[in-house]
């Protein structure tokens, strides 16, 4: 599992990185870094993709200074060929933003609920994902990114699952993740998907639930980190 002289991986991303970070410390994994902020902090303002050096701005810029010290880097450019992100692939923030007791999608829909059209859903996904996708695209273009981490599958206790059923939530999750998955596939960046963590329905198994209905626990984090290492070490060792 060691890097045999290569620099360690650097992981950054959303709040899911908290337990990933705890897991990698427990495991003594050759990965540094952790969360930069909640997914809501990753916006067009904090992820500028204009000309010039790639950087984080606003509150993410502030946090990056602390993050950089911990990760032993001075800038994102120091992560060439060893950056792992958890960005744009955790969908709970999307499907959890609707009050499904009074909102419906698709057709036929419950006429007692407010219908939200496919096009409106797409517009919401685009608004939430576009800045993150553009940022990750830039990470790839700069030769930094080696792997992206899939967000944890939905939990059975999530109110959206109670309202829409597992299949309904998984469909929304798939739609939300698609723009990022398309980019990663196009650029040949692997996605670390923790194995054997889901039920037959495709939901996160209870032993991997975190403190709330959006996050996985440290055991889930261990599964993720092991997958990241399995995917990246051979590739990373060659850099």
């Amino acid at each position: 599992m060691t890097e045999r002289g290569a620099l360690p991986l650097v992981m950054l991303g959303d709040s899911h990185c908290t337990n990933f970070g705890k897991a990698m410390k427990e495991m003594g994994a050759p990965i540094l870094g952790g969360p930069l902020g909640a997914a809501s902090a990753f916006t067009a303002e904090t992820l500028p993709v204009d000309q010039g050096p790639l950087r984080l701005a606003g509150e993410l810029g502030e946090r990056f200074r602390v993050f950089a010290r911990v990760a032993g880097i001075t800038s994102l450019a120091d992560c060439r060929g060893r950056l792992v992100v958890s960005l744009g692939l955790a969908a709970a923030r999307f499907y959890g933003s609707f009050d499904w007791r009074r909102v419906a999608t698709g057709a036929p829909a419950d006429p007692r609920k407010q219908h939200v059209s496919d096009a409106v859903l797409e517009a919401i996904i685009d608004a939430m994902q576009a800045p993150v996708v553009a940022f990750v695209d830039r990470l790839v273009a700069e030769g930094l990114l080696v792997c992206s981490i899939a967000g944890p599958p939905p939990q059975a206790r999530h109110p959206a699952v109670a309202a829409l059923g597992a299949a309904g939530v998984l469909a929304l999750e798939a739609r939300y993740r698609q723009p990022m998955l398309d980019l990663l596939a196009r650029q040949g960046i692997p996605v670390a998907v923790a194995p054997e963590v889901t039920t037959e329905q495709g939901l996160l198994r209870q032993e991997f639930w975190g403190d709330d209905h959006a996050h996985g626990n440290i055991a889930y984090g261990r599964q993720v980190i092991a997958t990241v290492l399995r995917i990246t070490v051979p590739q990373h060792a060659q850099t």
């Binding site: 933003s97 909102v103 057709a107 829909a109 006429p111 059209s117 096009a119 409106v120 919401i124």
Partner: protein, 351 residues
């Protein structure tokens, strides 16, 4: 014995009420029977000018009813494109009395149009609110699901509102020859296909508008017996006319009919008020200066003037609510917020 004019207030005389005061000094312009109270649940509908009323009431903290709010994660910049936040429900512009009546009949299950969806370029549109989904719905079933949900929301609105503000916009409309359904926009303009065998032009006359409005208000009052209605007439001229008349004459006809009907309904019912937004923009004393350069759209300062007067004269605590009313005299070609007028699509076809 004194003659009837001797004891009239100064507002009854042009010299004292208009010539002497100038446009900025005019007061008691409207005859309001019951002022709006902050706790009253207010709903709005109507032509594009009604969007200004909705927006200003929300800005001023009135208890404005929105039964189809935008999903929380939809960026605010997209709300209006998807028909959110324009009115109390997502019905888009309701230009005519016939359209209002039809909306209420559909919401109460008393009318189901034959032509419920339009297919254009593989996308599906709601003929009665073709602009609320700029690229249409993904399927016929989705369009119908949205329609059913919308009509349910309109029913909720009818039950909850204390005050309904309706802005009459036009008399011209396009109608289905088959079942009399009326469309906000001529089929084929925003979506659908125009078929002279199936669609006909109608220019509603005074009797028709009065009949439609009387029926619409009766439906509303049956649902909500204590409901008050506030009528206004949009000062925005027609974008285009299919009447064969010059658009200027056609505008005068439309607005005259609508203004006369509003006056008649106010005279008939003590629960109906009229607010003269039309007069406050179009009267000669204002010199047309409330308009943008195209003399059609009302400039921000014109809207400020109208809404300042509205807040002052129709709302409790109005003097405090009303910003100093800027005169249309000082109007510059300022752009107002993005008022959505799907009727404006017709302008594209002007030669």
């Amino acid at each position: 014995m004194p003659h009837p004019y001797e004891n009239l207030p100064s507002r009854a005389f042009w010299r004292s009420a208009v010539a002497a005061t100038g446009p900025d000094g005019m007061r008691e312009i409207s005859s309001c029977r019951a002022k709006l109270r902050a706790e009253q649940v207010i709903a709005t509908a109507g032509s594009c000018f009604a969007q200004h009323i909705a927006r200003r009431l929300q800005q001023r903290g009135f208890n404005y009813l929105d039964v189809e709010p935008a999903p929380s994660r939809l960026p605010a910049s997209l709300h209006h494109s998807f028909g959110y936040g324009l009115f109390s429900a997502r019905y888009g512009n309701v230009y005519t009395s016939a359209q209002l009546l039809q909306l209420l009949l559909r919401a109460t299950g008393k009318f189901v149009p034959t032509e419920r969806v339009w297919e254009t370029g593989g996308r599906w549109f709601d003929p009665f609110r073709p602009s609320i989904e700029p690229n249409g719905f993904a399927s016929e079933a989705e369009a119908l699901a949205s329609q059913d949900s919308h009509l349910g929301a309109v029913r909720r609105m009818m039950k909850q509102m204390d005050m309904f503000i309706f802005t009459l916009g036009l008399t011209e409309t396009w109608r289905s020859r088959e079942d009399g359904a009326v469309y906000p926009v001529c089929p084929g303009v925003a979506a659908g296909r125009f078929d002279p065998e199936r669609h006909e032009f109608v220019n509603l006359d005074y009797e028709a508008v009065l009949r439609d409005m009387a029926r619409a208000m009766a439906i509303l009052r049956r649902t909500r017996p204590s409901l008050r209605v506030l009528l206004t007439v949009s000062p925005v001229p027609l974008t285009a006319t299919a009447s064969g008349d010059h658009v200027l004459s056609a505008t005068t006809y439309s607005k005259s009919v609508l203004r006369a009907v509003a006056g008649r309904l106010t005279a008939l019912h003590d629960w109906v008020d009229y607010f003269p937004s039309y007069e406050l923009v179009t009267a000669p004393v204002f010199g047309g200066r409330a308009y943008e350069a195209n003399m059609r759209q009302v400039a921000t300062t014109g809207v400020d003037f109208v809404m300042g007067t509205f807040l002052r004269e129709f709302c409790e605590g109005g003097e405090a609510l009303a910003a100093p009313p800027p005169s249309p005299r000082s109007v510059v070609a300022a752009k107002d917020d993005d008022t959505v007028c799907d009727e404006a699509a017709l302008e594209f076809y002007a030669k």
